[in-house]
């Protein structure tokens, strides 16, 4: 405890100086190049965050928060909302100008109300230079017009989980690295009666992850850099054709799958391959009845398509501060504290591979090597692309994803309700409506 505290004091000298000895007027001397934020008199903060997926993650976050309160006297209240409710709650808070002071939100949420958020450029640039730089994909979510309107927090990694013994039984000793080999594996798995399954239903997380990977791995994209809808392309057609072939190898019913269905089917042994967060592994090791599945389970990144690099959507989370907060300095001090090396490392470790670091320096966190199953999830932040790639983020990109335009495009084609060409044309029409000028 003493050691921890001393360690903490050393690493957060600037902050403590600001908080504890701020009155002495010696902040600058301690601060060096780290920005110093002096919490306002009598400040207290409220953070709205998503309900944690892993207990250890929440524990680490709360512990860091407790240390912050101890150091600064600033109380931080943490409100939790189920992850799909954070977006509307935060948007309303931004809209009416009251409620939580900070929000831990998803994807391009900060881009929907950039002018309601406190500029965090100073802190963002400092953290980036201090910790090896931000991962570009995550940084894209947090920056607008060259300014940080949020701080990237983490990528919730998505990776393929599969049953090793079933793969070997299907005649594969090694997991295929490319999309062509992957299709062969899925065919072989199906022939053995141990099929794969990816959600084609309205699964906010898993459905979008799969659909974006299909599109991007084949070089297709929804939007170009200028914000024009460029979905209708030969690359997209190739992606849809590939999805059709892959779908034929799936367990029946994936077009009704929501976010939990693939976990359930995998843990019940109904499918031998799907993509998910690491949570499916923890669900398996928690239950003694699933010991066999847990031991047989392996994880790997989604295969690389014609585009030649590993590209995925993942889930991305950022932290932002609302302009309506009465205590912006305290809020910045809190964020700065949470990103200090020790605290951030504790948190990443607590999240047991669920949350992938936003800053490159934390890639050496021991959590990634502590269990082979974690390895695939370590690369999430590196392979992450923002939704609405490669266009600007904002209400259009958010609405297009929330309206399941891409998910629906693949689902209509694979189920044969429309030809690939028609499905793409329809998706293009829908996207155009959101990206209208």
């Amino acid at each position: 405890m003493t050691l921890n505290r001393r360690h903490f004091l050393a690493s957060s000298a600037g902050l403590v100086a600001a908080a504890g000895f701020g009155g002495l007027g010696t902040n600058r001397a301690f601060a060096q190049n780290a920005p110093v934020y002096k919490p306002e008199e009598g400040a207290s903060l409220r953070l709205l965050r998503w309900v944690p997926f892993v207990a250890g993650e929440e524990a680490a976050w709360l512990e860091n928060t407790r240390k912050f309160t101890e150091a600064t006297g600033v109380q931080v209240r943490i409100d939790k909302e189920s992850w799909e409710d954070v977006r509307p709650k935060a948007a309303v808070a931004a809209n009416i100008g009251s409620g939580p002071d900070m929000v831990m939100s998803w994807f391009d949420d900060p881009q929907q109300y950039p002018d309601k958020l406190v500029d965090l450029t100073e802190l963002g640039e400092y953290l980036g230079s201090a910790h090896g730089g931000w991962y570009p994909g995550l940084e894209g979510y947090a920056k607008r017009d060259g300014k940080f309107i949020a701080l990237p927090l983490c990528a919730i990694g998505n990776a393929i989980v599969y049953r090793d013994s079933h793969m070997k039984a299907a005649g594969f000793n090694e997991f295929p690295k490319d999309t062509a080999g992957f299709l062969e594996l899925c065919k072989a798995l199906q022939a053995k009666g141990t099929p794969a399954g990816f959600p084609h239903g309205k699964a906010v997380g898993d459905g979008n992850n799969y659909a974006h990977w299909l599109l991007w791995s084949h070089g297709g994209k929804m939007i170009d850099e200028g914000g024009n809808v460029v979905l209708n392309s030969p690359e997209t057609l190739a992606a849809v054709r590939y999805a059709q072939e892959l779908y034929k190898t799936f367990i029946p019913g994936t077009e009704s799958w929501q976010d939990v269905n693939n976990n359930r089917a995998f843990l019940a042994g109904q499918v031998s391959l799907t993509a998910n967060g690491v949570s499916v592994y923890y669900a398996a090791i928690k239950d003694p009845a699933m010991k066999e599945i847990a031991e047989d389970m392996r994880s790997v990144n989604l295969p690389i398509g014609p585009v030649g690099e590993s590209v995925e959507l993942h889930q991305a989370s950022t932290l932002s501060i609302f302009k309506h907060t009465k205590y912006p300095e305290a809020a910045k001090a809190y964020l700065q504290f949470m990103y200090q090396a020790d605290n951030m490392n504790d948190w990443i470790e607590g999240a047991s591979a669920y949350c992938c670091q936003p800053l490159k320096a934390f890639a050496s966190n021991p959590v990634w090597t502590s269990n082979p199953i974690h390895e695939a999830y370590a690369k999430a932040s590196a392979s992450l692309r923002p939704n609405g790639y490669a266009g600007p983020l904002g209400t259009a990109s958010a609405a297009t994803m929330a309206d399941y335009v891409l998910v629906d495009m693949f689902a209509t084609a694979v189920t044969g309700q429309m030809s690939p060409e028609d499905a793409i044309a329809q998706a293009e029409r829908r996207a155009l409506r959101y990206y209208r000028v």
Binding site: V92, Q112, K202, I251, P252, A402, Y404, D408, T415
Partner: protein
């Protein structure tokens, strides 16, 4: 004379306050304030939002009918309109038929009558989200109890794709809605049945009416007013259903079960397009108004109530 006929202003005020009209107005004021605050204002705001490009976090500007123009050309919107009408129509007819049937059975002299009446209410009492979650498992693509049972019996080889196939999905959500809606209709109609004086039935019997004739010519006409009220409510509830769909399919597969309410939410809240979401919600109003007017005028007509024609 003239000085007597014109009272001083203060007295006039007191007189007015003591008149029946003023008292009536005063008594209505709280209710009116309540209605304006919690009904008229939100409704008006919703209609207004439908004419703007408001997004969450942004108040938006007036854009006239643009939202409606876009919706008019949006196949997903029209799918949701079709789904909503289809869902409401089929579910309401089924709920009415089964509910009336159940009410008639419960109106007979059964053993443990009160017990059965209480049991029947259960689906209505259980929170919608809970029963929807139960149905979600019942309709699961892999773990459906129905599929499992049929497979055990050897009737089918593979699980039924309840929520993955558009037709199956529509039938499944309607089935869940019917299950949940029957008790409301059954119990309300049962209450109506009990207000029908037994002497009418006896008189009809003495005149030699068969039980079908008694039902058609005595019970049904006497029940019409309550049927009109109950069915209005039922249609309104069904038309605006949200929870069931949101839990079971979120509107999938490929929007085959998207109702106007779920589409409005999807675009308005997670999608952030408040204006368009509001426009979809406003587009529901004509349908709802039609249902209300139908029952309102139906209720006003004694001829209808007595089973006659205009």
């Amino acid at each position: 004379m003239s000085s007597q006929s014109i009272p001083p202003p203060k007295a006039r005020m007191t007189d007015w306050l003591q008149s029946r009209n003023a008292t009536g107005l005063l008594f209505m004021l709280p209710a009116a304030a309540f209605l304006i605050c919690f009904l008229t204002y939100p409704l008006g705001l919703g209609v207004w939002l439908g004419f703007t490009d408001a997004k969450i976090g942004r108040s938006g500007v007036f854009i006239g009918l643009e939202n409606y123009w876009y919706l008019w050309h949006d196949p997903v919107f029209w799918t949701s309109v079709f789904n909503t009408v289809f869902y409401t129509l089929i579910a309401s007819v089924l709920k009415f038929a089964l509910g009336l049937w159940l009410a008639l059975i419960l109106n007979e002299h059964l053993p443990f009558k009160s017990f059965f009446r209480a049991i029947v209410l259960l689906p209505w009492v259980v929170p919608t989200v809970l029963s929807a979650l139960a149905f979600w498992w019942i309709f699961d693509a892999q773990f459906s109890i129905i599929s499992w049972s049929l497979m055990q019996l050897g009737w089918i080889d593979a699980p039924i794709n309840f929520l993955g196939d558009p037709t199956n999905a529509r039938i499944s959500v309607i089935a869940a809605n019917v299950w949940r809606g029957i008790p409301f209709i059954a119990i309300s109609l049962l209450a109506g049945l009990q207000t029908i004086s037994p002497s009418l039935q006896e008189a009809a019997s003495l005149d030699g009416a068969t039980s079908w004739q008694r039902f058609r010519l005595v019970t049904l006409p006497m029940l019409t007013p309550i049927i009109a009220v109950v069915m209005t409510f039922s249609v309104l509830f069904t038309f605006t259903d949200f929870q069931l769909i949101y839990v079971l399919t979120k509107g999938g597969p490929v929007n085959a079960t998207h109702l106007m309410a779920t589409l409005s939410f999807q675009r308005g809240i997670p999608g952030g397009q408040l204006g368009e979401g509001a426009a979809i919600a406003v587009a529901m109003i004509p349908f709802l108004l039609a249902a209300i007017l139908f029952s309102f005028f139906g209720l006003q007509r004694r001829k209808w109530q007595q089973g006659g024609q205009d």
